[in-house]
Amino acid sequence: MKKTLVTLLCILCAAFAFANGAGESAAASTVDTSDITADDLRNANITLELWHAQTSENGIAMDMVVDLFNKTNEYGITVNATCQGGYTDCHNKIVSALAAGTAPNIGQAYNNNMMTYMPSGKLMDLTGYLNDGFGITAEELATVVPSYLEENRAFPDGKTYATSLGKSTEVLFYNKTFFDEHGLEVPTTYEELADVAKQITAITGRPSVGFDSMDNLGIYGPVNFGAQYADPQGNLYIFDENNIDATMDFYRWWQEGIQGGYFRTAGEDSYCSGPFSNGTIIAYIGSSAGTAYILPDGFEVGVAYAPVGKNPAVIQQGGNFCGFATGDPLVDLATSIFLEFMYDAEASGLYAANTGYAPSNKAGLETEAYKASIAAGGIGPAAKDISATYPDGVLAYDPVFENSYETRLALSDIVEAIALDKNADIESLIAEAERTIAAL
């Protein structure tokens, strides 16, 4: 027995030594493109790898954008795009490849996942590149949706690590036939939403308005009632003395809706589009990109801006693109040129035209491809157009910080708990969430 133990210990030590093998220095990449000319880039004949998370039609649209880049960029850069499954799969693969030293040049990921690439020292800081003489110009940059630019620098150090091609937002889907029949007004505020929901429930006798995402409601519910959520440095404000009243107001508003039987969650249906399609619910707040699953059973569907509170905030969602430094200034510059191309009017317009996403550049709205896709009509284009035309300042995003995933989860749990238990004690739910977050 003793011998076995000793042997085991030896193997253990050996494994530790082995596992410790490949250490890589974690140096942040610095930018200096001043000596590089366009000719240098052309002569280098650079090929870049792109790993993205877009499947099906979205994947085909992604390929179109990559093709457009390969054909039109003046530096002879070629991008090879591969779909790596969904966001989770793609993220896993990027982490592994970074650890193995075989990362692609460009990856698609949510910003909180990009946070975890940072310790590799490979995540490219794009701040300098955005303003260099290559890629996107200051003029083009000026028409990029401001909150997309903000989201991509909402990291703890305030640097820009990502660019966006297109995004979805939350919108309101409603049963237009039903609304017209009963002379109901489409709600634009939280107050009106609750009023309409009450009226409909009085008619149908069942919950009438659904909320697809508890994760979103957990943060943007309180925000719409005037609370501040958190900053990129990880300071949480939502429960502090300046914000707790607004936060509580929201929880009570939500609880009244549950107790009154007029609000509901997707629950066992996973998405509200199912019960909405067969008339079980009359309206819901969900993603503008999920319209392929709205298949109305004998009624007309209306799409409207999501109702807001006194501090209007509607979440924008979807993954972004980041670059991984290779140490070769030419290759890294090429990477930044492609990343900046995501903000291009033509590129984002083309992508938006072939998906359910809003273009990252407002000038993309004016492209022929995009206009044609909207003119085709239907629920999808209607939702897309709504998501693309929110006024500046309404669109919101989550800052990322250490443990932002778990913080979001804890807030989501509060609203879900209220939805599941009519008599939930809000104070103790808040206390529990605070404990969870404090322990992180």
């Binding site: 494994a15 890589e24 982490v95 629950g267 599941l420």
Partner: protein, 295 residues
Amino acid sequence: MVGQNQKKTFFRAMLYLLPALVIIAVFVVYPMFHTLRMSVYEDFNIFSKEGSGFGLSSYIWVLQDPNFHKALANTFIYAIVTVPVSIALSLVIAILLNSGIKGSKFFQTAYFLPYVTNAIAIGLAFRFIFHSEFGIFNKFLGLFGIDAIQWLNDPDWAMFTLCIFGIWSALAFKIVIFLAGLQGIDPQLYQAARIDEAGKWKQFIKITVPQLGPILAYQFVIATIGAFKAYVEVVGLFGDDGPLHSATTMVYYMYDKFYNANRYTIAAASGVIMFLIIMVFTFIQMHMSNRRADQ
């Protein structure tokens, strides 16, 4: 002389084991040590493979986390319910399938098919079965005047639903293994028993169970390990870990901490704790089945 002989046997045995051992050492044991190493740091840079804050802080964190307690409790409930029930059911079904009933070939295929059916298809089917308003289960219960149960929505029912699903999904594999095991039993044993006019039950106790002993032991050990590692079943049924995490399990916890929260040291520590728990259980089971075999 004896010593030399022993050495020779050992050497020969190693030759037989070499191919398997090499693969397992490289692709299972080595990553295991890597996990162990990650778990003893407070923070671990997965890219440079360097840890900081050597110590047991990750373990302490995990052991104090209420979500881990819940995952632990759920996993135990799941194992205690699904292991015996699924083994008993599959043994009975295997014996019936083996009893020369009409259409047994069709039945064998039917009971095997869940094993090859796509996991998402299974998840979809069960969501329809358990749907509170449109589901078959509640419609059936409605015939007896029982109110609709929120199988998938209610945190208090989630574990119950998960156990039903877990038992169902564990059957196909076990039935086929038992059938293969039943093939190994010498039919002359049963013929002798029939001459002695032993009843079916007596034959089952005196012949089937002892003859299936090694297979039965295997099923228990493997089923227990499988139940402790339940993850696919949870995600298949709920899409996540159930309403308010009510159906979370140890592996779900570990997976979430690793891939979603990217807290590698916490995930690794919970993995090691899990490993220790399953190991204790397996050794108890092995010890019990060995003792029974010795008797």
